[in-house]
């Protein structure tokens, strides 16, 4: 018998499967529902406000600003570049929505490198409960854009916000499963030395989110 067969034989001996797939599915559903009933109430009227409060809380530590439309992203990037003394060239996530913007004085053509100062991207959606950005990897959303730059500036469509992690899970079920799902909650950090939080471990040290309608 192979290792695989031996392991399955041992599991089946201890836990023979007696339920039908439909029964198992119903049990799994009941487990999720039971957990949902324990969750603290959240104010669902204004998801963007809830998201902003969570993402900019001390625990998460991102900065958030709101603009009218995606067309306002380039001026927001220009302000960010100026106030952080960054060079005007940066790496742009190869998403057509971003490429087609009028970047003016800025040069979004820099390649993504191990020491990129700034990358600008766009999230698939956001989770208001936790202030998390969600990215699904694809040719238009390579994973490393979220991890290599020192500053990560991300556009987030207010209409894409979901209330809770469960709402994201339900949304994701309707999409193709990507190679990577990245839920990003604040800038990279570590508490490995004496439990004290320091930002900018190996990933971005600053996360700036621009919410557009």
């Amino acid at each position: 018998m192979s290792a695989r067969e031996k392991i399955f034989a041992a599991i089946r001996k201890a836990r023979p499967e007696r339920a039908t797939p439909a029964e198992i599915g119903a049990q799994a559903q009941a487990c999720s529902e039971a957990m949902k009933r324990t969750l603290p109430a959240l104010d669902q009227d204004d998801l963007a406000a809830l998201f902003t409060a969570r993402a900019s809380s001390e625990k998460v530590g991102a900065s958030v600003e709101r603009v009218a439309t995606l067309a306002d992203l380039p001026p927001a990037v220009a302000r960010y570049v100026a106030s952080n003394n960054l060079a005007p060239d940066f790496a742009l996530q190869p998403d057509p929505r971003l490429k087609n913007l009028a970047w003016g004085e800025l040069s979004p053509g820099a390649p993504l490198r191990a020491d990129s100062a700034l990358a600008v991207g766009i999230a698939l959606c956001g989770v208001a409960e936790t202030g998390s950005l969600v990215f699904h990897s694809s040719p238009e959303a390579p994973t490393l854009y979220d991890f290599l730059p020192l500053h990560h500036l991300v556009a987030l469509d207010a209409k894409s916000l979901v209330l809770r992690l469960e709402n994201y899970a339900a949304f994701a079920q309707r999409l193709a499963i990507p190679r990577n799902v990245n839920l990003v909650t604040g800038a990279s950090g570590t508490t490995d030395i004496e439990g004290v939080l320091a930002r900018g471990a190996h990933g971005p040290g600053r996360l700036h989110i621009v919410i557009f309608d």
Binding site: R15, T38, R179, E194
Partner: protein, 467 residues
């Protein structure tokens, strides 16, 4: 074998005589306890949530074969290669063979307790591979030539002063300052190039998601994604108990796991990895391997299934009075603290590790803070009883317990013996505490014993005495 065959008592004595250790442990676990308490206070129904988390894990364990099969099929469909290992040696061999087949010389690793459990660091060294630990704490202990002493903060035994010394000595560019921020920046610089030199990146998994065939990692530094994305090969090692039904269940458990571990709502990076690079992808590994490890877990399914719920959050360590006094290394195994004292006998055999379940005050704190309500004290008592029955206890201990049992079964005799012993014990007390006892020096060398009252509780009640 996860614990070295060295005397537990020797290690404990060494730990108790190290004042620096106590300072380092209190800084890390104290921070963790405060943050967890605040996070739990913000979730009024946390007790009900623990019960719900427990049910989610129990559901996956109850249908383990079904879900593992589903996971395997979905993972294969995504292009992943799935391997099965019965024990630690087999798991390590599979990983080493994969590394060799890929022609790797440098391997990056993001923190994985299962990797420690199966002895992967040692196996990689033996195979002549350069292992680069990319998690900050793992980097610190790799420089110090040590093993992790905590499952969430592997360098919990090191103060910032220790870390400064190590970085000054080993980093190509010394840190600009000895504050935590400068030292973190120094590690970022030191490790940057290795992320792109490595041919293989190895990670663990917090969850295996049956519904999608994805594995989930929960981290905060960004090193995990830099370990798993640039190299040509990504190898995941995971215990089979990490299986959960769905993405929803994984995220629901993550809520409790992270609050219990660090007090955050989510860590910075909750990442699902599903298969290798796809057509058109600009990054990602070309090969994606998942090594699923049994190593005693199918035995636990019969003997202590509750322990398979463990999310490896570390809360039971942070709240354990014994762990906080002796630190992780004294336990000797890959996993320290209450959860380690339950797990190490599974991996190493009870005879080797019978001291671990014995080193517990049974105060029940661990069970109270456990996000999946594992009855750790009950499981530790189970090991103690088994050890006694199997005759692993030293003769003196067995004899003492047998004598005690004789009296305990005869209440009148017990009370008479106690009435005689109390005044005698009181003779050794100084100012309310006994700091040395004939035949009891093993106990009193590092702790004091409270001066007993004049008479027993029962005797006092019987006399109607108020004090």
């Amino acid at each position: 074998m996860t614990a070295p065959a060295q005397d537990f008592h020797t290690r404990v004595e060494k730990a108790l005589r190290d004042p620096q250790l106590k300072i380092a442990l209190e800084r890390t676990t104290g921070n963790a306890r405060r943050k967890r308490a605040a996070a739990v206070a913000a979730w009024p129904d946390f007790e009900a949530a623990r019960a719900a988390a427990c049910a989610i894990k129990d559901h996956a364990i109850e249908h383990m074969a079904t879900y593992l099969e589903m996971f395997e099929n979905n993972a294969r469909a995504s292009g992943a290669q799935v391997h099965w290992a019965r024990d630690a040696g087999e798991a390590s061999r599979i990983v080493i063979d994969l590394c060799k087949a890929s022609g790797a010389k440098v391997v990056t690793r993001s923190k994985s307790m299962l990797g420690e459990e199966i002895g992967l660091p040692h196996a990689l060294a033996e195979a002549g591979l350069r292992r680069v630990e990319t998690d900050l704490a793992e980097h610190i202990i790799q420089l110090a030539g040590e093993t992790p002493s905590h499952i969430i903060w592997p360098a919990a035994h090191r103060t910032r002063e220790d870390v400064a010394k190590l970085f000054d000595q080993y980093h190509h560019e010394k840190p600009e300052g000895h504050d935590v921020v400068s030292m973190v920046a120094s590690a970022r610089k030191e490790l940057r190039a290795d992320f792109f030199t490595a041919e293989v990146g190895i990670s663990g998994a917090n969850f295996l998601v049956a519904e999608t065939g994805a594995i989930c990692t929960i981290t905060n530094e960004g090193n995990a994604e830099l370990t798993t994305t640039p190299p040509r090969v990504h190898i995941v090692t995971a215990g089979i108990e990490k299986i959960v039904a769905s993405t929803e269940h994984a995220l629901q458990l993550t809520r409790l796991l992270v609050r219990s571990a660090t007090g955050a709502d989510l860590t910075q990076y909750t990442t699902f990895h599903c298969g290798p690079k796809r057509a058109g992808d600009r990054d990602g590994p070309e090969e994606f391997h998942i090594v699923l490890v049994d190593h005693g877990r199918t035995r636990m399914l019969a003997e202590m299934p509750e322990m398979l719920r463990c999310l490896r959050c570390g809360a039971c360590l942070n709240h354990c009075v014994v762990y906080r006094a002796i630190g992780g290394h004294a336990y000797g195994g890959a996993y320290p603290g209450p959860m380690g004292s339950v797990l190490t006998p599974v991996f190493d055999g009870l005879e080797q590790s019978r001291d671990l379940p014995a080193a517990c005050t049974l105060n029940g704190q661990c069970k109270q803070v456990c996000p999946v309500d594992i009855p750790l004290p009950t499981l530790l008592r189970h090991w103690r009883a088994r050890s006694f029955r199997a005759g692993h206890e030293p003769k003196a201990v067995s004899l003492a317990i047998t004598i005690w049992a004789f009296f305990a079964a005869r209440p009148r005799l017990y009370r008479m013996a106690q009435a005689a012993a109390l005044p005698a014990l009181r003779l050794f007390a100084k100012g309310g505490w006994i700091s040395s006892l004939p035949l009891g020096s093993g106990w009193t060398a590092t702790r004091d014993f409270p001066k007993p009252p004049r008479q027993s509780f029962l005797a006092a009640i019987r006399k109607g005495a108020t004090r």
